[in-house]
Symmetry: C2
Subunit: 555 residues, 2 copies
Amino acid sequence: MSTERLIYLPLGGAGEIGMNAYVYGYGKPGKERLIVVDMGVAFPDMDGSPGVDLILPDITWLAERRDRIEAVFITHAHEDHVGAVSLTYDRLRAPIYARAFTANIARRKMEEQGHAKETVTTVSAWPEKVTAGPFTVGFLPISHSIPESSSLIIDSPEGRVIHSGDFKLDETPLVGEPFDPKAWAEVSKDGVKALICDSTNVFSPKPGRSEASVGPEITKLVQAASGMVVATTFASNVARVKTLAEAGAKAGRSIVLMGRAMKRMVEAAVETGVLKDFPKVVKPEDAAAIPRENLMLLVTGSQGERRAASAQLARGKYQGMELKEGDLFLFSSKTIPGNERGVIRIINSFSELGVDVVDDSTGLYHVSGHANRPDLERLTEIVKPQIVIPMHGEHRHLREHVKLAEANGMTGVLAVNGMMVDLSGNQPTIAEYIETGRTYLDGSVQIGALDGVVRDRIRMALNGLVVVTVILDEEDEPLGDPWCELMGLPETGRSKAALVDVLEADLGQWLARAGAKIIRDDEKLNEGLRRVARQTALDEIGKKPEVTVVVSRLS
Amino acid sequence: MSTERLIYLPLGGAGEIGMNAYVYGYGKPGKERLIVVDMGVAFPDMDGSPGVDLILPDITWLAERRDRIEAVFITHAHEDHVGAVSLTYDRLRAPIYARAFTANIARRKMEEQGHAKETVTTVSAWPEKVTAGPFTVGFLPISHSIPESSSLIIDSPEGRVIHSGDFKLDETPLVGEPFDPKAWAEVSKDGVKALICDSTNVFSPKPGRSEASVGPEITKLVQAASGMVVATTFASNVARVKTLAEAGAKAGRSIVLMGRAMKRMVEAAVETGVLKDFPKVVKPEDAAAIPRENLMLLVTGSQGERRAASAQLARGKYQGMELKEGDLFLFSSKTIPGNERGVIRIINSFSELGVDVVDDSTGLYHVSGHANRPDLERLTEIVKPQIVIPMHGEHRHLREHVKLAEANGMTGVLAVNGMMVDLSGNQPTIAEYIETGRTYLDGSVQIGALDGVVRDRIRMALNGLVVVTVILDEEDEPLGDPWCELMGLPETGRSKAALVDVLEADLGQWLARAGAKIIRDDEKLNEGLRRVARQTALDEIGKKPEVTVVVSRLS
């Protein structure tokens, strides 16, 4: 096999929602020239990644082939598509292409990491094209919930593939370009080999609703409110931020933005001209002078994040603002699975303050930014691709989307992260399995998800920790008893004596009886002390803690 | 104020769903004779209570008044009502009353903790009554999702109050007695002072549906399935377990029970005669001989619990059974907020195996066991209480339920855990605030939620840990450099040198410069070493770890 081939390889986003990173390649096997589509992050949680700041795709495979990467293309400015672009730049060093608004956001990130603005090149919408090795790539506008979202029209000698990016079919999207069926028919008319397609809402059976349907309902709600109104949504849902601000302005309220991401996103959108006629904004410090019934706050924290503005307001005063009985708090957002507990915590805190909370349970105040099942069918009907490869979804979404494509007479390919698909020829085939995974940004350091660092944290959290210290003199005789520090463990157990005393007594006894052969052998000594500590703890408190042994030899 | 009064005091369940424990008292202030209604548990999570086994109400207030407790009454056998009864018995030592099935479950728990069966007394349904000091208490049957659920009719010299327990208004509940409006009208006809009422579903706008509506749908689903069928629900939802088993039997399938709780609950229900005509059950080891299309497994783990049967099956073979392409897995349950991640993990694992998963999103295969908003209104219309006190709900539920009661012309009282309400006289008043909280069962030890044990675990999980060891000789001179053990931290940071080496070098330098005054002072020495370790880590890895300092003085 030395003929050229066209390959598709997801490194993130195919098997999860978030952390999008897809690779396309063309060339002889093992020598393909590569382009990367999106470089996003996912968000950590206490269950699986405590203490971690961000989750990135593992780009080892790409970094090892850095000389073959022509370019990185970013479909839109959501964090799960652009969030890792500056964090991986050191290892990839490939030029980054995006439309103006996305490029603005990407450049801010690059500068924060000390990279030049010039690493990011602004591209105009289709029909402008970027040549990247054997590929030409164009940004075809499509509606989503952030300005300038685009699908990528990717041409190679093997034909055209379309990478949908995140999208919905909205002909009145408020920000960003409306869905234009004619433009889509036009780019598809000569045949599309494969549509690589957003799968998030494949389980939603009804056609999606337009962003324009939300505004009037929110306006009604705000107009009927008698106290202060606070609304939250993803700051990056620029469409919704605009909808909310306009609803507030129509109800005669001054708009206050709270939370860093909210201020930043509006700033970028105004700066690049994609957010026109945004209502006048008042600073929190100036809002104090305005009667509360004339205020509408737009705040971060729609997912219950502890440090975001909504959680701060739920706990009390924040930037001089404070909610009270008679105020209204609106979640103009969907709670992402896994975030329920945080959101409910906030709702209950507001309940204690006497604040009325409205969420999206009525379906009036939020619409999704993704294409529902009938919308996915509508798009494929226009594009008529030979092959549909679902992406941006958990396994269940991808599987369902493959079924849907096949029910509609197309070839569906279930390709999860690491599965390299050869799109050449008549039938797609699996070319190779690449090792993929997750990289954690932890503080300022990137660590592999399987490095054991986070595993150790989880173990300490579940089991508590005993640190056993032993000092041995020049003759390998213990200097005094071993002693213990306990962390995350109860002070007393079954015998009612202090757990630390019981542990030290048992360890001391064991050490006194241990022969020289054990005491001279670091490994055996550690293992013995560890075993005794765990057994004693089990007897006393009914659980086996993590144990770390520190042996100091004065010799 | 030395006249008698009637008090109500929630210690758990009013401000959360779970951990129910309510106190009623009658007598002179401070000398009331007390009864306790329910003694339940809540379940821990990684976010707030990592490593904890169960959460119990803090019963310190009750334990200090042990001589005044007449009895404990258990409304029904769900864990959040009966789960803590054996774990608190040592401190309360009060006789426990329940109906036969509930008593059976309670006795199993008492025996496990080494208490006599005789601590639990079986009571028949209303009109039988138990005299407990100034109270008489009767168990009025009401429909829920477990046999013999009851509301308590509590009479005192101050009149009658009714404690609803968990309930729905189901006239065809399959197990347990149907809701009987006549019986309720009868007990209410002479006037009810207060209804203390389940609030779980106050936000559900439509009348609840009967358990009987679920069976035919499940039967259809099972009959249409071509492979093995596996269904999960709470084992304690005995009604659903029966519905599922009957659907399987109707479809000609042999029923297999998997998971300890499932087998146990069916056993108790059959033993006490409340579960009649349960289909014949086949053991997992005998199921191997039966074609998979003739099998229906009922398994634990509807909430995605890692160790339950459904998670085990998602990971592969379990007790000889293994799912594969073409099989069907049914969640006949609602995912409790906070458990989504675990449930989704399982669904995706099944998706990888090619198993079709059906959940309750269609509303066909699950109904709630709690009264919805119109049902709550219907019950109060029959009972016509002067006062409604919402319980069994988060703050938002209680608040909404108070509003509902007041909209219907009754007095609503928002009483959260620790708020003692005086129900004597014409208007309820807040008599006192009691300190309440949560107690964690951690291994075999009960610890206070605010003892700091779990806080330390969370900190280690978020920040990682550095243990610094220093040995000082008889002259307070450091014996060698300080050394560090790292847990849950990356091996290298900014400088690319091993983090442990950088830490030890910085700590050694600081120690070499520290004066005798600091070195002789344990507190100052600890504080200094801690500060240096945190600062160095911040420079190197961008985060400040937890630091434990162990100083060994050879003097």
